[in-house]
Amino acid sequence: MAQYAKPLARLVGEFEKLPGIGPKSAQRLAFYILRLSEEEAKSLADAIVEVKLRIGYCRVCYNFTDQEVCDICRDTRRSDETICVVADPRDLIAIEKTGEFRGKYHVLGGVLAPMEGIGPDQLKIRELLARLQTQEAEIKETVIATNPNVEGDATALYLARLLKPLGVRVTRIAHGVPVGGDLDYADQATLIQAYEGRREM
């Protein structure tokens, strides 16, 4: 990066660390910022610092929030009877966007990955259990919405083992052929899952 002035090289270097950003894109972003007014640049820098300072985890569901308890958890119009368990805040957003789910969430902060040494203790599973045990009367169902891959499956199996003895209903979101997709083009694993999850009509 000898061709850049030092501060510019630093900015390009920082951008390159971001996911999905290669050297070319990093350069383009850095030059874009260079053309911004000082005010615009400050506003961007402030936004980055503010998100780091103000955003933390919701004390109840471990979603990101700028308050102690997040908006979803405080929303009295949402049901306390169903908790949807997701691995990641991005999964929560994906489900929220459907507008279908009106219960509360629990964000695990990852999935079980034996080969990576990620166990139950590194996830917010203890916290989920505590939630179920203190509000027992309220929570009737936990919907496990982990990804349909080996880690997501293992996490769901583990949670089912753990939660069923508490007397709450444990369900998992179905997986199958994508809507608008073509059976002929679906991969075998998906078709097998879709077949196993068939429904009475």
Binding site: P19, G20, P114, M115, E116, G117, G119, P120, D121, I125, R126, L129, N149, V150, D153, A154, L157, Y158, R161, L162, P178, G181, Y185, A186, D187, Q188, A189, T190, I192, Q193
Partner: protein, 270 residues
């Protein structure tokens, strides 16, 4: 660019980019190899399901500059019973990780491939999944030359089998059983190992019949000794601990079911 077909088991996969995965495949013909599965992280990809761990594939690969590329994959077996049971899934994951750790890339080992495959089938109908797993560990170690000495004292060579002599213990450092005299004199760590444990382990090491193995049950009195001896033996021969071992141990002692009273970390990683 050369293209080849092979039977492969997916040992593990890591994300490479937003859309691609890198797979560690164990093939019957070429041994272990890494390959890129392009687009396989997309939910609409035909490869997304096939490129998950524990899938047995008939795969078409193309030789690449650095890594080969999976161009087509047909699932031959997905081991649904293993995937659907947490305990079996953990054991299968451990079996895959152990094979990954004990082999190098591009070194054909068809007997190791067959052993893993038959272990996954046996796990699906085993009355005692730990019997299947320990038989796998013992037989895989024998294939790579890490097997513990079981027929005679590893220190003085005294024959324990024909005399039906009770062993004095198991020495992970020396890699085998010790007679009573040697166990008493040993300065290294000696783990308890009974005659029952010894007979069980020898039986598992030599059991090649899948049906019989699936029906084998490890006697309760010998269970703990066998677990501990094989674990310590393997840990010393591999540079690092097999990561999924911690999970299996936690599962075996029930710590995984009792998160609140028994934190997994303190119990599993002694």
């Amino acid at each position: 660019m050369a293209v080849y077909k092979t039977n492969a088991l997916v040992l593990r996969r890591i994300p490479l980019s937003e859309t691609d995965k890198i797979l560690t495949l164990f093939t019957r013909e070429y041994g272990k190899l890494s390959a890129v599965a392009k687009g396989s992280r997309r939910t609409t990809s035909r490869l997304s399901g096939a490129t998950e761990p524990l899938m047995l594939l008939r795969a078409l690969l193309a030789e690449g500059m650095n890594l080969d590329v999976v161009t087509q994959a047909e699932i031959r077996e997905s081991f649904p019973l293993v995937r659907g049971d947490f305990g079996l899934f953990l054991r299968a994951t451990y079996a895959c990780e152990l094979l990954d750790r004990l082999t190098v890339e591009r070194d054909p080992a068809p007997e190791a491939f067959d052993l893993l495959l038959s272990t996954l089938y046996v796990l699906q109908r085993a009355v005692d999944p730990d019997a299947a797993l320990h038989a796998y560990e013992l037989q895989l170690m024998a294939q790579v030359g890490y097997e513990p000495r079981l027929d005679a004292c590893v220190r003085c060579e005294r024959d324990l089998i024909s005399g039906d002599l009770s062993p004095g213990g198991f020495s992970p450092t020396r890699g085998g059983v010790l007679c009573l005299d040697c166990a008493a004199q040993a300065r290294e760590e000696v783990l308890p190992f009974t005659l029952l444990a010894l007979h069980t382990v020898i039986g598992l090491a030599n059991q090649e019949d899948a049906r019989a193995l699936a029906a084998t049950e490890i006697p309760i009195e010998a269970r703990d000794a066998i677990n501990r001896a094989l674990r310590a033996h393997l840990r010393l021969r591999l540079e690092r601990d097999v990561k999924s071992t911690a999970f299996l141990d936690a599962l075996r002692i029930g710590a995984m079911d009792d998160l609140l009273s028994a934190p997994m970390d303190s119990q599993a990683r002694d």
